[in-house]
């Protein structure tokens, strides 16, 4: 960046990514196991049974699914950027402080308890589980005042995550097989149960969260320099760090609760954007938001199409594309 054109750069790059996202979403809407006849759609003849069938496939199946994938990708990528910046650790991802484990435990409890009767209960229970995990982590960090705050948060997160994983395995070991199937799908990340209710629940949290962290992106640039330097540059480090982690955790919890624990998006999207655009969070945050959305919509579309009629969990696609990418990052230096 020459600072002379940082605003223009931000706008241009993000317009391009927005274009990419729109194209990806259109493709995702149009590609699928059922061939959609556009002629019939464009004629808009409501008496034509094909038109009714196609609009129903698009509106009640593909559209909520791709919207949910977009929200999840945007939320995970965006909170990944925040965690990596605040914790000053390139390997940090949105799940690092136990949010995903908390969310998974909540979901598993609800699946085991409610069976198939009330699907939205899984979302609520998962979101509650991730909030409880974050509260415990904060409680531990608060109790252990003297030590390095960030290290305590990470350590507490790992411990809370391990504990919740153990509880989850305990519940799974006494659950019967039809629920196990659903739990496994949930753990690998899955959009096949997407509906508008989930979109309406998660989108506002992700979008408001993004606006908040974007408005703090200059402060995030400074936090990367370390606590002392950030204080010296006038940033109230403790307060800003707390707010950013809280908001990123809410975003992650909301996403996990509607999509399960999809891996790699929170790492791959932010790092790709860093490689392409540099470390400036004013560019990086909106770019990761849009790029993460496009990446997950594309991955989910592939998950639907690759091995039709069997649908792959989207987490498999993100991991299969994310792991080689990480090897590349590792070997590049």
């Amino acid at each position: 960046m020459h600072s002379t054109n940082s605003i223009r750069k931000t706008i241009l790059i993000n317009l391009a990514l927005l274009g990419l996202l729109v194209v990806t979403m259109l493709l995702s809407l149009l590609l699928g196991s059922t061939h959609v006849d556009f002629q019939a759609l464009l004629n808009a003849d409501t008496t034509n049974p094909d038109f009714v069938k196609f609009t129903s496939i698009l509106l009640s199946y593909r559209l909520p699914r791709l919207l949910l994938a977009a929200v999840a990708g945007a939320g995970l990528a965006c909170s990944g950027v925040v965690f990596q910046g605040v914790l000053r650790n390139p390997l940090a991802d949105p799940y690092i402080i136990g949010i995903a484990a908390g969310g998974a435990l909540g979901a598993v409890i609800s699946i085991a308890a409610f069976k198939w009767t009330w699907l939205f209960a899984t979302t609520c229970a998962s979101f509650a589980g991730s909030l409880i995990a974050v509260l415990i982590v904060y409680g531990l960090a608060f109790l252990r005042k003297t030590a390095s705050y960030m290290n305590t948060v990470i350590l507490a997160g790992i411990i809370v995550g391990a504990l919740m994983n153990a509880l989850m395995l305990l519940i799974m070991s006494v659950t019967n097989s039809s629920e196990i199937q659903r739990i496994l799908f949930w753990l690998m990340g899955d959009f096949s149960l997407a509906d508008y209710q989930k979109v309406v629940f998660s989108a506002p949290i992700v979008i408001l969260g993004f606006i908040f962290v974007f408005l703090n992106s200059s402060r995030l640039n400074i936090l990367v320099l370390g606590e002392e330097s950030a204080l010296g540059l006038g940033v109230d480090v403790k307060k800003i760090r707390f707010l950013l982690i809280t908001v990123a955790s809410l975003m992650t919890g909301a996403v996990v609760s509607v999509s399960g624990t999809i891996g790699f998006v929170g790492l791959v999207a932010p790092h790709s954007m860093r490689l392409l655009l540099g470390p400036d969070h004013r560019v990086l945050l909106p770019a990761s938001f849009l790029g993460g959305a496009a990446f997950l919509v594309a991955s989910d579309t592939l998950a639907r199409l690759v091995s039709y009629p069997v649908e792959l969990p989207v987490g498999v696609i993100t991991a299969l594309s994310g792991a080689p990418f990480f090897l590349y990052l590792l070997l590049r230096k």
Partner: protein, 261 residues
Amino acid sequence: MKPKILESFSVSVVLDNSRVLDNVDFFMNQREFVGVIGPNGAGKSTLVRVLSGLQKPDSGSVQIHGMDIISMSRREIARELAVVAQEESLEFGFTVTEYVSLGRAPHHGGIFFENSHDRDVVRSALSRTMTEPLADRRVESLSGGEKQRVRIARALAQQPRILVLDEPTNHLDLYSQMKLVELLQRINDQGIAIMMVSHDINFMCLACQRLKLMSNGRIMCEGSPEEVITESLIAKAFNVQVLVDRNPVTMSPRITPVLNL
């Protein structure tokens, strides 16, 4: 009485039951170039942290231009006083221009994009530190001396009235040290008061107008380099026998440690 630009009143800091700072009264005047010398563990870095508001003293108070530092917001402090810290991670991929631009943050709220005034200030900070040719380089690719100049450029971009440096000669070779003295004296001539902390006595004698000698959390004595750098005072503070003579070029005091072999 005219308020000092930076002043502390019987400041004490206790860490793990030991008094790191013990009733320290520090002051410096406008446009002054003050050095604090002392052995490792004398409390120099803690004094820097307390004076720049990074650490609250257990007792006593600090004033910047007559204003109690407690009543000032972080951003207000950062507009008056810039710190060049001892160690700072510079492994984050910013270019020199991006990094120096972060110095504008205290003059803005949350998110900001540099306006033309900010860009002028950044450009001037780069030119004053002779880092313009490095503007598009990544900070982590620079040499130690270049990194130090870039850190100072970032501090200048804050447009402070006081510049505080903690052990600025660490890891610098002789050439970079001499460049640093020149640079700091030029900045001081432009009207910025400088407070610098180091254990490198000869370097401090070259650079500073006034010295304060610290030992065991107290300021033992202060004055011109000639007054402070005496064989008995240095032996007392550093627990090392030294010979003091004159730098043949600048005539400032110069020490030579004596080995008792």
